[in-house]
Amino acid sequence: MLNEQGPQKARSVIDIRGLSLTFETNDGPVHALSNVDLDIREGEFVSFIGPSGCGKTTLLRVIADLEKPTGGEITVNGVTPEEARLARAYGYVFQSSALYPWRTIADNVALPLEIMGLSASERKERIARNLDLVNLGGFERKYPWQLSGGMQQRASIARALAVEPHLLLMDEPFGALDEIVRDHLNEQLLKLWAKTDKTVVFVTHSIPEAVFLSTKIVVLFPRPGRIYDVIESDLPRDRTLDIRETPEFLKIAHRVREGLRAGHSYEDS
């Protein structure tokens, strides 16, 4: 297993150098990303954290080839993001659930599987397994509007997991959930990540969530969006929620908080 050699020796999954992205808008250019360098290796769990509007979503969308950078270089699995996307290299969880209202929950999870051309029995098995994983067993035949916002978001996570991608890009997937459900899903996600070789890139606003989940925390700064700090976490791979009380955990959380404070005061000045 690659992970046993330590993340540093693992294959590079995402390699970003001098990346920048400027949106041309009616009131002039918006520098969403400026000179971003980042290396993400196989098996890593990387969190982006930073004030609202600092470019977290934009950076994730560039990796997913949903946005084209205006400068710099980026490779995903050693190829361009577009080639990676066409090879279905990643699963993406959007900031909102983006379920199709005319499909039941099961059929929404089935959507990518139909596109991939999986057999009906394979689809059925994956739907059941992934809906169970997000605690939505029994809601297969409901339509999205019959579910709460948090349940819809969980369905969209099941839909991304059902693809069984090696690279998982998640944009604030648990932002709309209550604390208890969030803790549960954090544990589930961590378990899933620990037992597979998945690489996860995860956007969040929550410091405890970022520290609990990540092997690497990237703190971003706004206007223009850029990387302020990259914190490598030395917490063990298999963690439980109790770890949040340990001094090591609190030390990392403190450093993340310092970074965020700097970002906010920078914004205010």
């Binding site: 279905r88 993406y92 596109i115």
Partner: protein, 309 residues
């Protein structure tokens, strides 16, 4: 306080009249009654001059107002026939005639309906096809849409005879020329509605398809078409009514022997206003029924898709 104190005002609120008026039936009856009343008044006024002449010619001078009004409702070729004259004519030419009879309005409706439906199906298919092309190609959007729109600026009465004459010249007669005029009128609302509908998915829904690297065809089938369904039905309601107009207009210039259009034409040749109005009323009922059928299909389909709550 006793129960009676409560129940008596409640009883008032629940009187049969107020119950009727709180639903849709009551107001509909009121509207129909007003229309019929206005119609009767207008018929008396419009037919009065001819009736005065008729009485004068007959030398009758001592007619009462009541007799005069009744007489205006009983002319053979009134300017505006009274509702009961039209109703009697419709009854005589539907219920009391064999369906195969050349004088049966059901027979004529059937002829018009068949070209209406053929034209509607063709127009809807053409509209959907054009919309798919327009949505998927910027070039076609720029080059095709102006033609689609300008096609509807030409008066149908001007273009219908040309279509009929040209098609007759190449030996296409009967159902098809009329159906093509229906197509000409009905493809337009479907094209416009479907272009809007196929473009209605949100960016995030399209992005999702992109992350799966779905093909254009898969995106069309699994996202754009389902999103467009409410738009399709809205435009189909307009299209089906336009198809009926097209079929009737198509029957006028051919001197067609059958169809509601032919009844209108022969009615106006011989000044048979009662026949004209019967055909008009039947055409209106037909249009309303067609739109209702599309509405029912809309409700069934959208409910089965989980889109109607």
């Amino acid at each position: 306080m006793t129960d009676a104190a409560y129940s008596s005002p409640m009883g008032k609120v629940d009187s049969p009249f107020s119950r009727l008026m709180s639903g849709t039936t009551g107001p509909v009856i009121v509207v129909v009654a007003v229309i019929v009343a206005v119609w009767y008044i207008a018929a008396a006024l419009l037919n009065a001059p001819a009736q005065r002449d008729a009485f004068q010619r007959a030398g009758q001078t001592d007619v009462t107002l009541a007799e005069f009004v009744v007489a205006t409702y009983a002319q053979e070729r009134p300017v505006l026939p009274a509702p009961h004259q039209v109703a009697a004519e419709i009854w005589a030419t539907t219920a009391e005639k064999a369906i195969t009879s050349k004088r049966s309005l059901i027979y004529h409706s059937g002829i018009t309906l068949s070209s209406t439906l053929l034209g509607f199906v063709l127009g809807t298919a053409l509209g959907i096809g054009l919309a798919i092309l327009v949505v998927h190609s910027r070039v076609l959007d720029k080059s095709l849409m102006p033609w689609v729109i300008s096609s509807q600026t030409i008066p149908i009465l001007a273009i219908a005879p040309m279509i009929i004459v040209v098609l007759n010249a190449i030996n296409v007669t009967g159902l098809w020329p009329k159906a093509l005029i229906s197509t000409y009128l009905s493809f337009f609302p479907v094209t416009v509605g479907m272009v809007k509908g196929l473009r209605s998915p949100e960016i995030i829904q399209l992005d999702l398809m992109k992350t799966y690297s779905a093909s254009g065809f898969q995106t069309l089938l699994m996202l754009r078409l389902p999103s467009a369904m409410p738009y399709l039905f809205a435009s189909m309601k307009v299209a089906v009514a336009a198809s009926l107009v097209g079929a009737i207009v198509g029957e006028l210039p051919t001197g067609a022997v059958a169809g509601l259009g032919a009844r209108l034409l022969s009615g106006s040749y011989y000044g048979q206003t009662v026949q004209i109005w019967s055909a008009l009323i039947v055409a209106a009922v037909l249009a309303a029924s067609l739109v209702t059928i599309v509405s029912i299909a809309e409700r069934v389909v959208l409910r089965r898709m989980g889109m109607a709550r």
